[in-house]
Structures are given as C-alpha cells and as structure tokens.
C-alpha cells in the first residue's frame, strides 16, 4: 500500500535537494519543478488507489486529508514556479509538501462509516476546507520569506537569499492572493458544511466550526490591515499566527475538542 505515495515522497525529496542547489546558481530553475510535477502525478495515483480501496474519496480519513493537503500545496508550488518563474520559494515550500506527504501516508486510514461522509456536498465541503488550508500554508511560507527578505534588506545583506528572494512588494502580493483564495474557499466550505450538518445532524455547534470562524476572522483582519497601514512585516506576522490556528484546528481541535466532526 502507498508505494506510489512513497515514490512521490522520494521525488519531492530530490526536488528539494535540487531546489536548494539551484539557489546557489545565478540562473535557471533546474529540474525541481519537473520532479515535483512527477511527484504530484504519483501522489494523485496513490490517492486514487486509496480512494478505490476505501470505496469513496480518500480524504474522509485523517491520513488521506493530509495527503491531499500536501498534494494541493505541491500544486500551488508548481503554479507559482510556472507563473512567476519564482524559484526561491521552492526550498521553503517543498519541505512542507514532503512532511505532509509522509504524515499523510503514515497516519492510519480507517474509513469512517455512515451516511455523514457520503454525498457530493460533503465531498465539496472537505475538499474546499483542505484547499483553504493549503492556501493558508502557502501564505505562511510566503510570510516567512517576507520576514527573511525584510531583514536582509534592512541590514544591507545583499547575499544569496537577498538576490534570490523576490521583492517585498511581490511576496506581499502573492501572499494577499493566497490569503484571499483561502478566505473565500474556507467561507464556502464552512457554508457547505453547515448546510450538510443541518441535513445529517439536524443542526449543531462544534469546536471546529468556531475555530474555522476564528481563522476566517484573523485572515480577514490581516487583509483589512494590509490596506490600513500594516502592510509589511506586521501582516506577515498575522498570517503566521493565522496558520498556527489552522494547524491547531487540524491537530488539537480535531482530536480532542470536536466530537462527530473529525478526521480519523
């Protein structure tokens, strides 16, 4: 099981090595994007196989959802590289793809039973939630890069990182796009989830829902303050805080606070 998943992991690891190496070359993207693309294909096949064996979408399980999350992050990386020819992000983003892929494969995948996890409304709800989390993870990485680049510029350190990382304005813009997508997608996911919960549970309040609303609020504040004088490192810090909330929701809230509403 998961042999394709492990192949993807190996490809991601190789991509990371090449991405780091290409940082020290004056020009060229190197083969990292191609390796990530190959990894994405392998991982997609893996998810497909898992889904078949479960007789449903693979992301009903915790492992599956994390693997799908990694897959979407990998896709986001590829999009950035192809659209912005942006190679400096790879070494920072690929480790996340790698780590979540491994985690997704290692975590148990008991398929939950029951009607609550079937139907297209549910499928959209979960897929969009994972997509939103991937967007927030991307924003987290971009925010780290922002802070690093900000520091290099302020100290007049014009070395490798300085020359490879994009301009602050560019990182900020990518961050804004990423968070906007995350907010919209998460909001739709929450709305679908609430509608679905009404149908299968006849209404509920749940720690995870509260947490999702809090996450939406924090990222909303971030976008708002971005235009109200906080553009820059403060907004980057807010995004990092937002992603800590996301991780917390994925781990602590998922495992301890929420009852019916969990990945197992």
């Amino acid at each position: 099981m998961h042999s394709l998943g492990w192949i993807a992991v190996i490809l991601y690891a190789a991509a990371e090595a090449l991405a780091i190496r290409s940082l020290f070359r004056p020009k060229g993207l190197g083969a990292a994007p191609a390796l990530v693309a190959a990894g994405l294909v392998a991982q997609f096949a893996d998810l497909e196989l898992v889904g078949r064996s479960l007789g449903s979408v693979p992301y009903r399980t915790l492992g599956g959802s994390i693997e799908l999350f990694a897959w979407m992050l990998g896709l986001a990386y590829l999009a950035l590289v192809l659209r912005h020819r942006e190679r400096a992000i790879g070494p920072f983003l690929i480790p996340f793809v790698l780590a979540f892929s491994v985690l997704g494969i290692l975590l148990p995948s008991h398929a939950p039973s029951g009607p609550a996890t079937r139907g297209s409304l549910f499928a959209f709800h979960v897929t969009l939630a994972i997509l939103a989390d991937a967007a927030f993870a991307l924003s987290f990485v971009l925010s780290l890069l922002y802070l690093i680049q900000n520091r290099q510029i302020r100290r007049g350190r014009t070395g490798v990182l300085f020359s490879r990382l994009p301009a602050l304005e560019v990182i900020g813009r990518m961050n804004r796009t990423s968070v906007t997508i995350g907010i919209v997608v998460l909001a739709v996911s929450v709305a679908l989830g609430v509608a679905w919960a009404r149908r299968v549970w006849s209404g509920f309040t749940d720690a995870k829902l509260v947490w999702a609303l809090l996450t939406l609020f924090v990222y909303g504040v971030m976008l708002w303050m971005d235009r109200r004088g906080w553009e820059g490192s403060r907004v980057a810090l807010l995004s990092i805080f937002g992603f800590i909330l996301v991780l917390f929701s994925y781990t602590f809230v998922n495992l301890y606070l929420s009852q019916a509403h969990v990945f197992r």
Binding site: R25, P26, K27, G28, Q149, Q152, I153, R154, G156, T158, G159, F162, S163, L165, P166, A167, L168, E169, V170, R227, R228, G229, W230, E231, G232, R234
Partner: protein
C-alpha cells in the same frame, strides 16, 4: 618541413594599469578611427588579421603575424599614426604572444582585467570590436575564432558565476535595494534632493534603471529646472519638499545642506497619508540630508553613505571570491581555443594527413593475398606520395597566414583529422 611561416598571435595594448591617462587618451580610438587603423595595419602588411579593442580604460591591438618582431613595428606604427614618442608608448605598453595573448583577451572579456572587477560592459565592447573588424575585413579565421571563443567564455562566466551579480557603485546598490522593496521602479516616484554633481549622476543612473517618474528639488531652483530639462524629469520647488513626500516612494539626498532636509515628523506625516506603504530613503551625502531617526518608523527603509559603502565593500569581496571559478571556466575555454589553434600549425596537420592516407593504403593492401600485396605495395606507395605532394607543398608555402589557417582547417575537416 620548414616552419618559417608559423603563425603568431599577439596583442599590444595600453590599459589603466600601465598607461597614464594622457597616453591612454592619445591611443583611444573612435569606431571610425578603429576602421582606419585596421585598414592601415593590413595595408602595411604588418599583420594578416587584426582587431582593435578600444574602451575608456584600454586600447588593445590584436594581430596575427609571422614572427615575434612585429610587436616593435606595431608600436612604431601607432607612434607615427597618433604622433607619440615611440619610447613613451613603449614604456606604457604591454605585449603578449601566443597563448598569453589569447588568455589576455579571455580575461578582458570576462571582466577580470577591468577596473570594476567583473563588470559586463566590456563583453559588449569586445563583441563590438569583432563586429567592426569583420566589417572592415580585417578579422579572419584566427581572430574570428579567438574573439568568438572569448565572448562565449565571457557569457558563460556571466551565467555560471556571480562575478557580475553584486553591484559595486553606491548608486546601483541603492537602486538594487529599492528594487527589492518595490519590485519594479518604473512606476514608482523618485524624489531627488539636490541637483549638483552627485544629484546629476544619480538622476542619470535611475533613469537608466527604468525610473519614469523623477522629481528634482534644489535650493537654487534654476539648477533643478536645468537638470530636469536635461534628463527629462520634473523640477519641484524646494519649499514644497515635505508636500512631495507622500507621493514619493524613493527619496534621495544629495545636497550639501548642513542640517537634514527631511525631518522625522515630515516622514511620519507622509507615511500616514501613504497608509503605511513603504518609503525608501538614500542619503548620499555627509552631513545627512535625511534625519537618521526616520529609520525607526514602520515600513521606512533608510540608508546612509556609510551603510551603502559597507555593502559596496562586501560586494567587492563577493566578486573577488568568484575569481577562481571564473578562471576555471576561462581555462577550459582557452584550452579549447588553443587546441584548435594548435591543430592549425602546419606540421601536425601534414603529419596527420599523411598518416590518414597511409592508413587507407594499408587497409586496402590488407585485403589482398600476401604475394599480391608485395607486388602492389610500391604502386600504392607511389600513389599516396603523389596525391600528397601538391597539397603539402601548397599548404607549406602559403604566405598569407589567415588563408593558410583557413585551408588547414578545411583539410582537417575534409579528411576528418580531428576524429581521434
């Protein structure tokens, strides 16, 4: 076989290392003078090929000639042409022959021989020199190959090393830092304080860097207006500098004012109006034009002369660190060139050609029965010798070096002599 017609590469030059400014000025040629010089050189028959590289820091004459004595004749030629005492020229000049001449050009093209280590302009100038020589018909097989190889090596150095990546001048460092804040400067507004010498240089620099919105303020408004008109910028009144701040993304101080022109309060007010969008300050003078305290304001980037000079020193160190890698690349390319050039000397090619013919003869004889073979061997020997005789004679006695090299190259190609 005699090698009386062996070919030599040489370069005779004057650069910032050995020649004083006045001497360099006298031997600096415009493109038109380069053409004239090339025609005269070839007309006198001193060299069979020539390329002249002339920039503000160097003038170098590359030539292909027969024998090393040509160096002195070349100096005399320049002395006649430019009206300079031969011994003055001679003392300031440097000369290199053969592989050393080739190596020199490779180093020049890679920027290793430049005053600003690793600068890239010289690569274009080398390419330009070759273009002019081709137009004039003065570069042929050897120099053509030499210059193309040097240009290729220079390009490899640009892409494979960082020798030209980190800027050395204060103005370019300032622009690079601002670029890393704003991404693109073309749509940003730059406010320049001061229209003196530093201001003028900086104005030129940012406009070359793609800035389209440049405002210039100067205590004496005529100077600002004059400079603005010359470079295509907008002059703004000195009194309204603080009013201009909110719309300025980059502010550059170049005045001789004893007290800061831009105060922290002004910047704070401007940042409020800008809703926190970043501002970038460069102070290129001492005492500072910009209150050093502005650095404490959120999203304000500010650099003074000391800070920028530190970056320049660091960048210079980075370039120096790249030199060994650059030299490795150059040696690889020089070796390739020299291998080709070495093959073009007459004796190895002729020996090679003879061996190739004999191989064919032996292979064909192998196919015969032993008795038959012995009987036909003298005939085969004689055919090979007769086939080789005329080409060998002509190649050896070709007086024109460039033509000889072209022919040697053709022979090597036609008989596939570079195969092994």
């Amino acid at each position: 076989m005699s090698d009386s017609h062996e070919t030599y590469l040489l370069v005779l030059g004057w650069n910032f290392r050995g020649a004083s400014g006045p001497v360099r000025d006298r031997v600096a040629f415009t493109a038109e003078e380069v053409r004239e010089g090339l025609r005269r050189l070839l007309g006198r028959g001193l060299v069979s090929e020539s390329v002249i590289v002339s920039t503000c820091h160097r003038s170098e004459i590359y030539g292909v000639a027969e024998g090393e004595g040509v160096g002195e004749e070349l100096t005399r030629f320049i002395s006649d042409w430019r009206g300079l005492e031969p011994d003055v020229l001679e003392r300031a000049a440097f000369r290199r022959f053969g592989a050393e001449a080739a190596r020199h050009l490779f180093r020049v093209a890679a920027g290793l021989d430049s005053m600003a280590l690793g600068e890239s302009e010289v690569l274009g100038q080398v390419r330009q020199a070759l273009a002019i020589a081709r137009e004039t018909g003065s570069s042929r097989a050897v120099l053509h190959r030499l210059f193309e190889s040097a240009v290729r090596a220079g390009k490899r150095v640009r892409t494979e090393t960082e020798i030209g990546v980190h800027p050395l001048s204060i103005a370019s460092i300032g622009v690079e830092l601002a670029n890393k804040v704003f991404g693109e400067l073309s749509e940003r507004t730059v406010l320049l304080l001061g229209a003196g010498e530093t201001g003028t240089l900086f104005a030129r620099h940012v406009l070359e860097a793609g800035v389209r919105h440049l405002k210039i303020a100067n205590r004496t408004p005529e100077h600002a207006e004059h400079l603005a008109a010359r470079v295509g910028a907008v002059a703004v009144p000195w009194d309204s500098v603080s009013l201009e701040l909110p719309s300025a993304d980059v502010v550059v101080g170049t005045t001789a004012s004893p007290r800061p022109v831009v105060q922290r309060d002004d910047v704070e007010a401007a940042m409020r109006q800008r809703k926190g969008r970043p501002m970038f300050f460069l102070d290129l003078t001492l005492p500072p034009d910009i209150d050093p305290d502005v650095r404490g304001i959120y999203n304000v980037f500010a650099y003074d002369l000391d800070g920028l000079e530190e970056v320049a020193a660091e960048n210079r160190r980075r370039r120096v660190k790249e030199v060994p890698r650059v030299e490795e690349i150059l040696e690889e390319e020089i070796e390739r060139f020299l291998a080709w050039f070495g093959n073009l000397s007459v004796i190895p090619t002729l020996t090679h050609l003879k061996r190739r013919f004999e191989e064919i003869r032996d292979r064909e004889l192998e196919r015969l029965a032993p008795a038959e073979r012995e009987r036909l061997r003298p005939l085969a020997d004689s055919i090979v010798a007769k086939l080789l005789h005329e080409p060998l004679r002509r190649l050896k006695n070709e007086p024109d070096a460039a033509r000889k090299l072209e022919r040697l190259e053709a022979v090597r190609h036609l008989f596939d002599l570079d195969r092994d």
